[in-house]
Amino acid sequence: MLRLVSLGLLIIVWYIGSFIAGEQMLPAPMTVLNAILTEARSGELFFQLGVTLARVLVAFTLAMTIGSAIGLLMGRVALVNQLGDSWLVVLLNLPALVIIVLAYLWGGLTEVAAILAVAINKLPTAIVTVREGARALDPALDEMAKVFAMPRLRTLRHIVIPQLAPYLAAAGRSGLSLVWKIVLIVELLGRPNGVGFEIGIAFQLFDVTRILAYALAFVVVILAIETLVVQPIERRASRWRLRTA
């Protein structure tokens, strides 16, 4: 209920802002909604959203998989942590734009370079979060698995990953929002399609309505993923907590 009131308030403020700033600077909510519907009817909206979403998912999966593996290793093996820590600091502090520009310079304006640029941007935060999780693993459960001679993969799946779940969820949550923002910049700078590319065109034409239409449509997609995919997975993973609460 409170969420609906909050949303209603946002729309009212938007209307007032639009009235003060003028339609060209800040088009009213209905104008943007009409633009979304027009783009949707032509099929353009879904195509561009699909392309961006595909890039988001590939880059996100890549960064999360590699980041989790490296984070787990760094958290468990002191030598790997000592070796990788300074690299991690460099990656964490390298501006996203620098990574994107370098990726395009070295790899050309290609899909691979674009995806890698996004994944590398997300990688260090995934590593840091999962490393913290790996450091918090319970050594008593580790010892139990060893005494009972549980195979490594079985231990990883049933003992390590469930303990890492909150950290993986945190890395995933922050990752999804970070990745889609970076994908838009990557598309703006060097791809011939996607929401970022469309926003770039709209920027050149000073078409604020189109910018807002694409941005809002993509926010809705991300919200849908959050509600329909991320939250159910989290609920499932923390079922035992609910039972014991």
Binding site: E143, V147, F148, H158, W240, T244
Partner: protein, 252 residues
Amino acid sequence: MNDARRAGGSELLDVRIVRKAYAAATGQPLEVLRDIAFTLARGELGVLVGPSGCGKTTMLRIIAGSDADYDGKVVAPARGRLAMVFQEPRLLPWRTVEDNVRLVAPSVSESALVTLFDVLELTQHRLHYPGELSLGLARRVAVARAFAVEPELLLLDEPFVSLDDALASKLRDELSVLVESRAVTTLLVTHDLDEAVRLADRLFLLSARPAQVLAEVSIRVPRGRRTDAELSVAKAAVVGHLRGPLDPAIKA
């Protein structure tokens, strides 16, 4: 350096630890075990009794293969042929009772599981999560898990500590039934002399740190038929080996 190899013959467990020390925070080595030597034959139940903090858990960890940094030699069944009940139940909170047991014993048959849960009165808790169980029940699950792997050697690290007397006594009886029926070689660690004389075939009395075996007492009367008088005699025999008054850390 140690020399661990696998056991064979009638002796299932052969422990010879010359020295085990930890590096203390001061940088000085902290000696925990010194000149420990004992064996257990197949099917025997040995009890190590000694004051809290004397290094009993360290010894079990060495036998279980979790700690290889010691001088000496331990001959024990290979990993996968031994099981351990830790001081804390060490269950996975995200798996049900049944799944906790099946995780370490994937090939356990349904009928074996039913029998185990029946003896340990866990049948109605099969689908419960550890967070829904009392400490006594969680300990039972840990015992069920250890028996489910059908070990040659079972290590028990103070499994009844911090339970009330009635519950501890009930669990002791259940454990006794399981050990008897499966003829599994068992090594139990406790600081409770009363518990030790009730369960042991052979009892090893340990000194304070660094732990050494002060005495070895064999109790011939079968576990289920020990009268209070016989238990008192056994206790007196153990206490008689102590030079001074009974160490206050050992609960007589």
